[in-house]
């Protein structure tokens, strides 16, 4: 099919990241242009799995679609936002960096030679001036458009590690990526049941075998396979709810919003106020205790500390009984519905389902929601048939021994290439001893010192959460002087975005490098922008690891690079070369070939590198059901067993000190008993961002925030096809980010659908387009994270017309006084207070679209 004029190329889709991917799209290229992108069809000679149950046999289709953005991503190649050449900020110079103008001043095109001179000159200057690389904050931990190697965003860490190793210039300051999507499970549930290796979520071994055989009800706790699931896991996530329905399993959706999967799949929606899930679980537990409908034998044999929990539920310790009526006040869910839920949950074999965890795990004190979730799952005997923690789609590492669906264990282990660079982003701890959590990046610049507990590294052991860390390392330290930004996602994907933008304007910061394909997010706050490529513009490997079927693809270069863009790898290689680090950056082909040759496709199936490049892909067979049953047997599972069955059978073996489910965390009790923010037993507690507190008098609404259905985090919001389906057209014709608001709240504020509204609190303001809908509970508004910033002025105040809601999300530091230790450096991007007012479009003073008014000259 391929010839000069027409070729077919498999290209990693934009929701790839962390060197891992989904199935790619089949891109058709004609005369150097991508004319269409088609779903990939798994060839007929690849054996798919079958999950055999008494309710029927379950498999997946051969067609593999991806999120809509994937099919529109070609529009980003030459978009108006594209960085085509190295760009230097007009009023930056080494002697006079004008830091306060970052985000305001324009850019001019410079040559690669000039750009490399500047960047290496600045690195050397840091070394000469401060004696080490510690003043360089390297932000290279993902959340952007990313491939296996070439457009990977981890190379900054590698570069500075090589500078350390080969030039002896010392450590750099590593920004450590906190477990963003899993926050609540990481800071909370880990203390109840461990699972350090899977960020606090129970293993998924063969879980579908059990659920489809035995479950009668599945609770979607904020889970949205139609949005997050499709983006991360492709078609398989869309099939899973259909399996549940075909097996006759009821789906109950619990979430403030009627999300996209719930709107079509749920048999019952229980709307609750944002981030009040813990209170709902208390009400459920109370019903079970009052009616004696929990698994007392399991509690006795598999858990510790239940009596203290029971006592708290009954109010014996604090005088407040956590009845359904009590929970109703907090959650907005009627007491009768809480009791009905509790009774159904006890009577029916019920599993609880998430993809990552939803908005409930990304708010203030989100450890409460996940600890209570673990408690109530324990009360009904998690691991018993049909009673599981269920992910609707799971990357291959989510296991003890076995995959979620029938797969050969060696394929999971050695089927797809692992990129060692991942250690810099998703590791057991920082590589550099000088580091700051991503949640505290702004504070590390703005405050004289920051102290916190826990490295926040994704795979760190629970014990790490009690270790004390600080930045800078000592009082004479220069702190952060240079920022190396490969992420381009901080204000849109993380919290308190306005603070981060201000931090970038701090006079201490001498130099900011952005490495990115587009002028978006915080990239227009850089002094030097290096033009990175998209996946269409270079060859790479595609390691299909997030799907239910594993595969390796060879990605050809689909089109010529736009402008003078280079791959992320190449950009860092060129910089390394100027610093004499040639050997640390072998040619791309060598790197890819070595990675491929370690996979089973080469070692077991005998397809050498050259042949693989011709074939373009290798999709791994799944075992037959009979083979799968044998594999399970080898690992101690019976034919129908799966999920936490092993724990139900053994009653021990968890990562907790006791090996059991701990209602009262023995580790917190031993190491941090006086931490009132996270006591050994999860108790109901109030905080500043809750309704009913003093702050809610001024800001009565609670903002919830999901992953967008049409963006991938901050990516894709500039695509015209996406904007016209995903946005709200204001009366001024501008496409605003949707803000869902309940009809009662809208009426009280004189807001109609399509109105421009300002969502605001103490931290600032963003503009949105109102969507008045029954899909959001009263008292809450829903705005997805990651909209493209477009700064404007309203009543002489800087506002974001783009609707980038995380700009006004809280910092973890707000709970503490200046200089106080941050005991839980959690991410807060949902469930915080704000108010909404209607805005007259005539009062908005627009910007030019880059930063606060910057322009780009390619002249």
């Amino acid at each position: 099919m391929s010839d000069e004029k027409h070729k077919v190329v498999y290209v990693a889709h934009p929701a790839s990241g962390l060197a891992r991917s989904n199935f790619p799209l089949e891109c058709h290229v004609e005369d150097g242009e991508i004319v269409r992108s088609l779903p990939f069809y798994i060839p007929d000679d690849v054996r798919l799995y079958e999950i055999k149950t008494s309710r029927g046999s379950f498999t997946r289709p051969r067609k593999e679609v991806q999120m809509p953005l994937a099919f529109a991503a070609k529009r980003r190649l030459d978009a108006g936002t594209r960085v085509k050449y190295p760009l230097l900020r007009n009023d930056w110079s080494p002697d006079n960096p004008n830091p306060e103008n970052r985000g305001k001043s324009g850019y001019s095109r410079i040559s690669w030679d000039q750009a490399l001179d500047i960047v290496t000159g600045q690195i050397k200057q840091i070394h000469e001036k401060y004696g080490s690389m510690e003043p360089v904050l390297v932000q290279a931990d993902g959340h952007g458009h990313s491939g296996y190697m070439q457009s990977l965003h981890f190379w900054g860490h590698y570069l500075f590690d090589m500078i350390r190793e080969h030039l002896g210039w010392g450590w750099w300051t590593q920004q450590v990526r906190n477990p963003d999507s899993w926050e609540g499970y990481y800071w909370g549930a880990k203390h109840v049941w461990g699972f350090d290796h899977t960020l606090g979520e129970p293993y998924q071994d063969a879980v579908w075998d059990d659920v489809l055989e035995s479950a009668e009800m599945v609770i979607f706790s904020g889970n949205d396979p139609e949005a997050t699931g499709l983006g991360m896991s492709g078609s398989s996530a869309l099939e899973m709810p259909k399996w549940l329905k075909r097996a006759g399993i009821k789906i109950i959706a619990i979430s403030p919003d009627l999300n996209y999967a719930a709107a079509v799949h749920a048999d019952k929606w229980i709307p609750l106020k944002p981030n009040t899930d813990a209170a709902l679980y208390f009400g459920v537990a109370h019903t079970w205790i009052a009616e004696g409908t929990y698994d007392k034998d399991y509690i006795a044999s598999h858990t510790t500390g239940f009596d203290e929990f029971k006592s708290h539920v009954l109010g014996k310790d604090d005088g407040v009984e956590k009845t359904p009526a009590w929970a109703a006040e907090i959650t907005g869910v009627p007491a009768h519905t809480i009791r009905a839920l509790a009774r159904e949950w006890a009577a029916k074999k019920t599993s609880l389902s998430v993809y990552f965890g939803g908005a409930k795990v990304r708010g203030t004190l989100s450890h409460l929601a996940t600890r209570l979730e673990a408690y109530v799952l324990a009360m009904q005997g998690i691991g018993r048939p049909g009673r599981q923690f269920l992910r609707t789609g799971a990357p291959s590492f989510y296991k003890k021994d076995l995959a979620q669906v029938p797969r050969y264990p060696d394929v999971d282990f050695k089927g797809v290439a692992m990129n060692p660079m991942i250690e810099y982003a998703i590791g057991k701890g920082p590589i550099s001893p000088i580091f700051v959590p991503r949640t505290l990046a702004a504070e590390a610049i703005q405050c004289s010192s920051v102290e916190w507990r826990g490295t926040t590294a994704a795979l760190a052991k629970t014990e790490d959460q009690f270790e004390q860390y600080h930045f800078p390392p000592d009082s004479d330290h220069p702190g952060i002087r240079m920022v190396w930004n490969e992420n381009g996602s901080q204000p849109g994907s993380w919290g308190h975005g306005w603070d981060w933008l201000e931090a970038l304007q701090n006079p201490k910061i001498e130099f900011v490098v952005g490495v990115h394909p587009w002028l978006e997010n915080d990239i227009p706050y850089s002094d030097l922008i290096l033009p990175a490529q998209t996946s269409y513009e270079h060859e790479d490997l595609i390691t299909v690891q997030r799907s239910d079927i594993l595969a390796m693809f060879y990605q050809d270069q689909a089109v010529e690079p736009v402008g003078e863009s280079k791959s992320d790898f190449e950009i860092h290689r060129m910089i390394g070369q100027r610093l004499g680090l040639d050997e640390a950056f072998p040619p791309v082909e060598e790197w890819l070939q070595a990675a491929y040759e370690k996979t089973l496709a080469a070692t077991k199936h005998g397809i050498d590198w050259e042949e693989f490049k011709k074939r373009k892909y290798f999709v791994y067979d799944c075992p037959t059901w009979e083979e799968w049953v044998d594999i399970k047997k080898e690992h101690g599972y019976g034919e129908k067993d799966g999920g936490m069955h092993w724990f139900w059978k053994s009653g021990g073996g968890l990562d907790t000190p006791s090996g059991k489910i701990e209602f009262v965390s023995s580790m917190i009790a031993e190491r941090d008993p006086d931490n009132t923010e996270r006591p050994p037993l999860a108790k109901w507690m109030t905080h500043a961002e809750q309704q009913g507190g003093p702050k809610s008098e001024e800001y009565p609404l609670s903002v919830m925030s999901n992953h967008s259905r049409f963006r991938f985090h901050v990516q894709g919001d500039d695509v015209d096809w996406i904007r016209e389906i995903a946005k709200v057209r204001g009366p001024d014709g501008y496409l605003y980010e949707p803000c869902w608001i309940n009809p009662a709240d809208a009426a009280a504020r004189g807001i109609k659908g399509g109105d421009i509204v300002m969502v605001h609190n103490d931290r600032g303001s963003v503009l949105c387009g109102a969507v008045v809908t029954e899909r959001i509970i009263a008292g809450a508004v829903s705005v997805d994270h990651g909209a493209k910033m477009d700064l404007a002025t309203l009543h002489n105040r800087l506002v974001d017309r783009g609707g980038c809601i995380n700009l006004i999300a809280p910092s973890p530091k707000e709970k503490y006084g200046e200089g106080e230790e941050i005991k839980v450096p959690e991410m807060n991007v949902s469930g915080y207070l704000a108010e909404i007012v209607k805005v007259d479009p005539a009062e908005i003073v627009a910007s030019t679209g880059v930063g606060e008014g910057a322009t780009v000259s390619h002249g």
Partner: protein, 266 residues
């Protein structure tokens, strides 16, 4: 030539918009003559999803209608076109020949489905071609190819007796068939004091005819009387041993929700 057509299953559609985006991917910037000239970058939706938000908190659901050219037998667009530019292929796909089309826009108003668009730059009217260029090669239309839920299929439809057409009352005799077109529901919840009641008999009696639909309330006390007739008056009869009868007259001009019905013990 095969006489294939589209079958749309509303019950399967999740509103993911992949069909709309795939259509743009195929047609924006690409010409498939004689059937079509390029679709403009934005503004046209040859396949579009019409979302229907239904019900009231907490009984809310979405229905999505993927709407494209219904390839009508009695197409008003064909009748109204002064240039005879709109034609029906032998296989039944209706297309606008871009060569004779003058962009007079009469067809836009004539179409009962609102699926014809003006391309101001090219001065022509444009719409879905059923991906005639792909169909001729034995391929599926792009919206069908990309649909992950088999909500949009394309093939021989032999037995249409159980199927519906969309806006049949417009009289265009569409050749696209539908399953699961939304019908009004009457929903609600029954409680006694502060407890929901399961197993309550709820019946909607069609006061204009002799039909009735009945359900039992579920474990949350919720009931959903589905698939009712549009614009009818129903008597909703709620019956449970030990409780007084509850009746309400409801007109199904839209989905109706009775809210929380408190039954009184006898």
């Amino acid at each position: 030539m095969d006489n294939k057509t589209f079958l749309i299953d509303v019950d399967k559609c999740t509103g993911c918009m992949l069909c709309s985006i795939a259509c743009k991917d195929e047609h924006v910037g690409s010409s498939y003559e004689p059937w079509s000239k390029p679709q403009p970058d934005t503004g046209q939706f040859w396949m579009n999803i019409r979302p229907l938000e239904r019900g009231r908190i907490p009984r809310v659901r979405m229905s999505y209608l993927p709407v494209h050219c219904q390839n009508c037998e009695n197409a008003p667009c064909i009748t109204v076109c002064p240039e005879a530019a709109i034609k029906t292929r032998d296989d039944g796909l209706v297309w606008i020949d871009p060569v004779p089309c003058t962009g007079c826009d009469l067809c836009l108003d004539a179409c009962p489905y609102g699926v014809i668009f003006m391309n101001d730059d090219l001065g022509i009217a444009q719409k879905c071609t059923g991906c005639a260029h792909r169909v001729d090669e034995g391929l599926e239309p792009r919206c069908v190819d990309v649909c992950p839920h088999e909500a949009i299929t394309f093939g021989e439809v032999k037995d249409t007796s159980q199927l519906e057409t969309y806006l049949a009352e417009a009289g265009a005799e569409p050749r696209v068939y539908w399953n699961g077109l939304p019908k009004p529901w009457i929903a609600g919840q029954v409680i006694d004091g502060d407890e929901v009641i399961e197993g309550v008999s709820v019946t909607a009696v069609d006061l204009a005819g002799d039909g009735s639909v009945g359900v039992l309330s579920d474990a949350f006390g919720d009931f959903w009387l589905m698939g009712l007739k549009q614009g009818r008056k129903y008597r909703v009869e709620i019956r449970m041993d030990g409780y007084e009868d509850f009746n309400a007259d409801v007109v199904t001009d839209a989905d109706q929700d009775l809210g929380t019905v408190v039954l009184k013990a006898k």
